[in-house]
């Protein structure tokens, strides 16, 4: 199935790029959506079966594939809306859809890859396709965003490659021939700790560019700011999850060796610094889209914190990242409507959003509650569990610091959102504001509701899968 999926993606992508007919474009994208859903279902039914030597969907990949399918469908729909509203010519439209399809497929493949070298190749492809999405508007700001993104991602990919080289040095002693995660986990105890430490450092640093943690988070912020909002939604959800998969799988190997606590310390330092950086920017930020991007950094910090602390935290980390995958795209999709009303990303130009778009304003309000993890948001459950794990691990100072930082983030986030929703705008020509159909907000409501549903009333299979994924560690 992975072979069919890859070939299908390539065919559809090439067709989108070469053909200029509108009907062909949309029908081909429809075929891709079908293919994606079939692929997701197939991998779920054939869990833990090796395909084409290098691919083996396990519980973690199936969970994240499910989240990917759920988010990709509205993303493609909103891209369609975006193209219609902006009156795109066929050429850039085809290119944009092709790049988006390649991005989604490469991320799927990276989820199910059971070989770190194969995963690395797909990580490269995501950089390539994401850069096309970011450069969609072809102006100097977009160029700057894409240049920074490509340059930092090229360095991050080099770092992952160096990590793989060190890993191969560690394997040389243990006598392992392949790079499959299964073999590495089975022989983890024989790996040389010195090389394993170096390998972890480099691979972790490399993946931080994708997951969005200190030190390499910067590229992602500019990328999400400059990419059209539907693409930004994908970049801040499923692409970040790919970085998480990479870190999770390497950490699963490390967790079976003596250097586990050292690696956990590295991850905690990076996570706390990420939450700190997100706080510093969030309390001053005036650009709405960048604010959402920094909020993602904060959530990834919390996720990696949970993973590093362990215990119930590992379970909560996986739950948190899936719920975040539902919540953040909803905010990004909504941003397009905000931009249509005010023609600006700056918070100073906005205001009284309830007056101009009731349904959309409600999405932003609910999205704010969800993203800041206030009850009844689903993220509240997972964040609470992560705090519980911190409490159980007796890291009280850390807990207090994180809680303080999160409170400041809520303040920064809230003051911007409430300015957007309730206070009057500085200057606005009300005649030019387009009427926005409430139906455009339906997918956002659905995503936010899903996040609540999966937190408070998770289906038994869902919980079962998370427990299976947690078993990879220890």
């Amino acid at each position: 199935m992975t072979g069919i999926f890859l070939i299908g993606t390539i065919l559809i992508g090439v067709l989108l790029y070469l053909n200029k007919n509108t009907i062909v474009h949309y029908s081909v994208v429809g075929v891709y959506v079908l293919l994606l859903v079939v692929f997701g279902g197939y991998e779920y039914l054939h869990i833990n079966e090796t395909e084409n030597l290098f691919f083996k969907p396990d519980a973690l990949s199936v969970l994240l594939l499910f989240a990917l399918c759920v988010v990709s469908l509205p993303a493609i729909y909103h891209t369609y809306k975006y193209m219609v509203i902006h009156n795109e010519t066929p050429r850039p439209r085809g290119l944009f859809f092709a790049a988006m399809i390649f991005l989604i497929s490469a991320i799927c493949m990276a989820y199910v890859a059971n070989n770190i070298a194969v995963m690395w190749i797909f990580v490269e492809i995501t950089t390539l396709s994401a850069s096309v999405l970011i450069y969609h508007h072809r102006n100097i700001r977009a160029l700057e965003g894409v240049w920074k993104y490509v340059f930092i991602c090229a360095i991050s990919i080099t770092f992952i490659y160096i990590g793989i080289l060190f890993l191969s040095l560690a394997m040389k002693e243990a006598g392992i021939e392949t790079f499959s995660f299964d073999a590495l986990m089975a022989h983890a105890a024989q790996l040389d700790p010195f090389w394993l430490k170096l390998a972890f450092l480099f691979i972790f640093t490399g993946f931080t560019a994708k997951i969005g943690l200190v030190p390499m988070y910067t590229a992602g912020i500019d990328a999400k700011d400059k990419a059209p909002a539907p693409a930004g939604a994908l970049l801040s959800s499923i692409l970040m999850n790919m970085g998480f998969v990479g870190i999770y799988r390497v950490y699963a190997i490390i967790s079976k060796t003596e250097i586990q606590s050292w690696a956990a310390t590295v991850m905690i330092v990076s996570a706390i610094l990420s939450i700190f950086v997100a706080t510093v920017y969030m309390i001053n930020i005036k650009n709405i889209k960048r604010m959402f991007a920094y909020s993602s950094i904060e959530h990834m910090g919390i996720v990696v914190l949970g993973l590093a602390v362990g215990g119930i935290g590992t379970y909560a980390a996986i739950l948190h990242i899936i719920l975040h995958t539902f919540v953040k795209p909803a905010l990004f999709f909504q941003f397009n409507q905000v931009y249509r009303v005010y023609q600006s990303k700056n918070i100073y130009d906005t205001g009284h959003y309830f007056k101009y778009n009731k349904a959309g304003a409600l999405v932003l309000l609910l999205g704010f509650f969800s993203a800041t993890a206030m009850p009844p948001s689903g993220l509240f459950i997972s964040e609470f569990l992560i705090f519980q794990s911190l409490f159980e691990a007796r890291m009280f100072i850390l807990l207090v610091v994180v809680l303080l930082l999160l409170t400041m983030i809520i303040w920064g986030f809230g003051s911007n959102i409430f300015k957007l929703l309730f206070t009057p705008p500085a200057a606005i020509n009300e005649k030019q504001i387009p009427r926005i159909s409430p139906w455009d907000s339906v997918t956002q409501y659905a995503l936010l509701a899903l996040a609540v549903f999966f937190a408070y009333h998770p289906p038994a299979t869902f919980v079962q899968l998370i427990h299976e994924a947690v078993k990879l560690i220890h």
Binding site: I121, E124, L143, K148, V150, A154, T158, I164, L165, W195
Partner: protein, 209 residues
Amino acid sequence: MSDILLIIFAITLLFMSISNRIFTYLNILIFQGLILFGVTLLTLSEINIINLVLILLETIVFKAIAVPYFLKTIIKRNKITREAEPYVPNFVSLIIVTLIIVITIILSSQIKDPNLDKTIFVVSLSNLFTGLYLIVSRKKIITHVIAYLVIENGVFILSLAVGNEMPMLVNLGIMLDIFASVLILGIFFNKIGDVLNDPKVSQLQNLKD
């Protein structure tokens, strides 16, 4: 013999830290490509001949000829000023690069692994860190690209350390080279040249908070 080549390779880094003109950087890149050709030939004795030829061709054609030539055309076409324009004095750069090399030597003395050639480890890591240092200490985008290529060269040397057992990894490294060069140089640099006449980082500094 390969040790001598690798030591010369490390010395080029010191030279790079004090050179003033971009063309000097490019000439050093060409020189590094030629050294890599020699090191590859001497080190990878156990892999099959077709793969070896492929890797050798990559070092000589790609690293030593195509990429530097391409960069030279870009510099001429976009009329980029020939100065490297560092943020810090050259003397400080020289000291920092020397420190980098000394620190990697100290780090390598910690290794007790008999399988690894320590010269390779030292040279590749000092290449990596020198490249990162050049990126943060130079103003122009083109110098950043050159520094990135220096990092790539360092990584290539490291991949030679395991090349005999796992030639697949060296091929992956080549893929990385081609990917990065095509993406960064091919697509982008042309575009940056179109939009900006004198590509400096200072003109791409508007996205911030």
